[in-house]
């Protein structure tokens, strides 16, 4: 799953550790999500959306084309 977490984080000049602390996960988890190696759960995705004041769809893209 693609996501804009790294871009959003960079826009706010936050480190991975700071984002991890805000979402209450480990820095390794943020790194894995940013690289698309780990897909977050729905609660964590909602938490990220609330943190950035965006919708989940604005951050995460499941790469499935809708018709």
């Amino acid at each position: 799953m693609k996501n804009r977490l790294k871009v959003l984080r960079a826009e706010r000049d936050w480190t991975q550790a700071q984002l991890a602390s805000a979402l209450e996960v480990s820095r390794q988890t943020i790194n894995a999500i940013e690289k698309g190696k780990f897909d977050p759960s729905l609660p964590l995705a909602f938490k990220a959306a609330r943190l950035f004041n965006l919708t989940i769809e604005d951050i995460f893209d499941d790469e499935v084309e809708t018709t």
Partner: protein, 140 residues
């Protein structure tokens, strides 16, 4: 980012506390296990009452260690939990397959000694360790 730093501290503190608690209970469990294994022979000459009390203490501490382990696992974030759960599942499978095959070796006379449970535990520990390392590498 003061508030977030504070949250970070809370998260880290919680994990560190859970890890320390688990470590402490594990150490106590190992000590009580050693006492239960060696003290009857070397200290109180197989006194039944003392041996039973020691065994009960060992079981109680073991149960407390399991509770601490559960708390530790629940305190991890979802990716860390997935890594550990995957490692546990793999270890359980390896333990079952290797354990039964190992037991079979003696039954079909391919080995001349009786299989020891400690050998299986060593295999499971090494499997668990390897699986955890592999899990962390996978998500790195």
């Amino acid at each position: 980012m003061t508030k977030q730093d504070c949250e970070h501290n809370n998260y880290q503190t919680k994990n560190n506390t859970n890890t320390r608690t688990l470590r402490n209970w594990t150490i106590v469990w190992v000590i009580t296990m050693a006492i239960a294994a060696f003290a009857p022979r070397f200290i109180w000459d197989f006194n039944t009452s003392l041996t039973i009390i020691t065994l009960l203490i060992n079981l109680a501490v073991g149960f407390r260690m399991l509770v601490a382990n559960r708390k530790y696992l629940r305190g991890l974030d979802e990716m860390q939990q997935k890594i550990l759960f995957d490692a546990m599942a793999f270890t359980l499978g390896v333990g079952l397959v290797i354990g039964l095959s190992y037991e079979l070796l003696e039954d079909i006379k391919l080995i001349g000694f009786e299989p020891e449970i400690s050998h299986l535990i060593i295999v499971m520990c090494l499997t668990y360790l390897t699986a955890i390392i592999a899990g962390h590498r996978k998500y790195r």
